[in-house]
């Protein structure tokens, strides 16, 4: 990693749910200022948990960081409330959308602007989100619960952008979105990153896209980081190719032809 300024430094954290289930077993990662960092890994690897630990949303899940430290621009943030973190520019897009069901799409977005006191700024942000996701504009008066899955996902992302963040934690942004929109979401990420120097930490299953757009990647397996490196290197790693990009041995295999035996290899276990 180049000697860029590290904004977010996660240092050997352990996370325990319900005071018995140990989920993260010493995860460390760094996010440089203005970088796009991806966390990859299979179901249950602990990506979401890592993001929750950073944004301090673990408490509501009865989880806790029991070891290690998390620093934001050199400041320890384990004891800050999520609201404090948003004030400092860190916002998370939660997995599974979590739109406010009874609020309309527009109200959802406006709630995202709660921390911004400047009315003009909020209005401008709203317009920006609407230009990113025109679909939201047409559905603005509809209660979030009655919109389609993809519309809710857009709403969740848009809502987070309304806070004018400097670091965005994106948990599976592409889930449930049509391919074109996925493309657009990643373009937005790149856009914000380039134009507004927003830093991104994203957990993604769409490895292909994630590696294409990010600078650096971490691969997690059962609560540990098993591999990390610049995105380009990871994309060329044979194992990554085979297990995460589905192009092992050169050609992409048809989903119809995949072998039925269990092939997953564990790096560590």
């Amino acid at each position: 990693m180049d000697p860029k300024k590290i904004v977010l430094n996660v240092n050997g954290i352990e996370v325990i749910y319900n005071s018995v289930i140990l989920v993260l077993k010493g995860v460390s990662l760094q996010v440089p200022e203005g970088g796009i960092v991806a966390i990859l890994g299979g179901n249950g690897a602990g990506k979401t948990t890592t993001l929750r630990a950073v944004s301090n949303l673990l408490k509501g899940e009865r989880g806790a960081v029991t070891k290690g430290s998390i620093e934001l621009r050199g400041e320890r943030i384990e004891n800050l409330s999520p609201a404090d973190l948003v004030q400092r520019g860190v916002v998370q897009v939660m997995e599974g959308r979590h739109c406010f069901a009874h609020l309309t799409i527009e109200e959802n977005l406006l709630t995202g602007g709660y921390t911004r006191k400047n009315k003009g700024e909020v209005a401008a942000n709203l317009e920006k989100v609407y230009t990113y996701f025109p679909r939201l504009k047409t559905r603005r008066t509809s209660q979030a619960a009655y919109t389609s899955g993809g519309e809710q996902q857009m709403c969740a992302i848009g809502r987070a952008l309304m806070t004018n963040p400097s670091i965005v934690l994106l948990d599976e942004p592409s889930m449930g979105l049509a391919p074109q929109i996925v493309q657009e979401v990643f373009d937005i990420v790149r856009d914000l990153n380039a134009k507004e120097r927003v830093t991104f930490l994203l957990a993604e299953q769409n490895t292909n896209m994630a590696l294409q757009y990010s600078d650096y990647g971490y691969i997690m397996e059962s609560g540990r980081v098993v591999m990390d490196g610049p995105a380009a290197d990871l994309a060329n790693n044979e194992d990554v190719k085979e297990f995460y990009l589905g192009v092992g041995g050169g050609e992409r295999k048809s989903f119809r032809d995949v072998k039925s035996y269990k092939r997953r290899k564990r790096w560590l276990a």
């Binding site: 018995v20 140990l22 009865r62």
Partner: protein, 358 residues
């Protein structure tokens, strides 16, 4: 690693489906049963029986019934007191009006009266959900309060509305000593708890839970919400009704409608929540907490106070009792929001890993 399941492989699904698949659990429950049936009767004093154990058993039974409706089927009920009252007065009417009516059938018939009443007031649940349903069940509560005060026939024309029974017998054995009452309630409780446990781990129990967790999805996989909800109301109010009959017959002897007031309904709901929604064993913990803790505080606080050399007035003690009780509820919830049963389960999980922390 005192408590572990390593090495206890299940070779059949049947073995795995047992209520207590782990050996330690079986030993433990066996011990509990032996204690309950043999050791406790040998040791407990009259006071323990009459003032603590019997009400605990009956309330545990009632809480179990409420738990089926609230905990398993997710239908909030604040009318459990009414179902108990209907059970009690129903059993009473069968008992005094039908010549030579034996006790147990009278109680069960009382339970059936409660079932009918429960289904009637459960009908709105087909349309009204969540907290809003509380209105329907409270309507049942206040209606029954009124009914047993106003309809003379139901109280056998007693002018004041208070009624009583005596000469209780089961198969010719009188149920009047403290121990016999205890055993009687214990047997009822154990039998009903087993049946209830069977129900909740069978298809019907899964239907209830499915309706509770997500009713639309449940309908899509073929569960009929109406059937599931009404059976939950029926089974629940039957058990609650039986508990009501026991409460009236065995514990109170003579009672007035106020014995089944809305306070009782609330207390039953609290038992279920603090014990653990959707857990049979939780009903026991909840009943113990709500029934026994205030009594315990009431007796221990003066002793504690005198120990540290302060004398608190009786009124002060009562208020301190309320405060401590309230604070304990909050504290337990913070430690484990899913109730005492979950706390117990987590404890077991820790034991499983012991001495390692994770």
């Amino acid at each position: 690693m005192i408590y572990r399941e390593n090495g206890q492989f299940k070779t059949t699904y049947r073995a795995d489906q047992q209520v207590f698949p782990i050996l330690q659990d079986r030993l433990f429950i066996g011990l509990v049963l032996i204690t309950a049936f043999i050791i406790v009767p040998a040791m407990a004093s009259e006071y323990w029986f009459r003032a603590l154990l019997i009400p605990f058993l009956i309330m545990a039974l009632a809480a179990l019934g409420v738990n089926i409706l609230v905990g398993y089927c997710g239908q909030i009920s604040l009318g459990s007191g009414a179902f108990m009252a209907v059970g009690a007065y129903g059993a009473y009417n069968f008992f005094v009006r039908v010549p030579n009516m034996p006790l147990v059938p009278a109680i069960l018939l009382g339970g059936l009266c409660a079932t009918a009443f429960g289904i009637l007031f459960g009908l709105p649940s087909l349309r009204v959900k969540g907290l809003y349903l509380a209105v329907a069940t409270l309507a049942a509560q206040f209606f029954s309060d009124w009914m047993f005060l106003r309809v003379k026939w139901l109280v056998n024309d007693s002018p004041s509305g208070s009624v009583g029974v005596n000469n209780l017998q089961v198969f010719g054995m009188p149920i009047d000593s403290a121990v016999s009452k205890y055993w009687f309630c214990l047997v009822m409780l154990v039998v009903i708890a087993m049946l209830a446990k069977n129900l909740v781990r069978s298809a019907i129990g899964r239907e209830w839970m499915a309706i509770r967790d997500m009713d639309v999805a449940a309908a899509v996989i073929g569960i009929r919400p109406m059937y599931a909800k009404l059976t939950a109301f029926a089974v629940s109010s039957f058990i609650v009704g039986v508990a009501g009959a026991l409460w009236a017959f065995v514990y109170l002897g003579t009672w007035e409608p106020a014995a089944f007031s809305v306070d009782l309904s609330f207390r039953l709901l609290f038992m279920v929540i603090i014990g653990g929604l959707g857990s049979i064993i939780g009903a026991f913990y909840g009943a113990a907490f709500i029934v026994l803790l205030p009594i315990f505080l009431n007796q221990v606080l003066p002793a504690l106070a005198s120990l540290v050399g302060i004398t608190i007035s009786t009124a002060g003690l009562s208020h301190a009792e309320l405060m401590i009780f309230g604070a304990l509820i909050v504290w337990f919830l913070i430690v484990e929001p899913h109730g005492l049963a979950k706390l117990w389960a987590t404890g077991k999980q820790k034991l499983r890993l012991w001495p390692f922390p994770h």
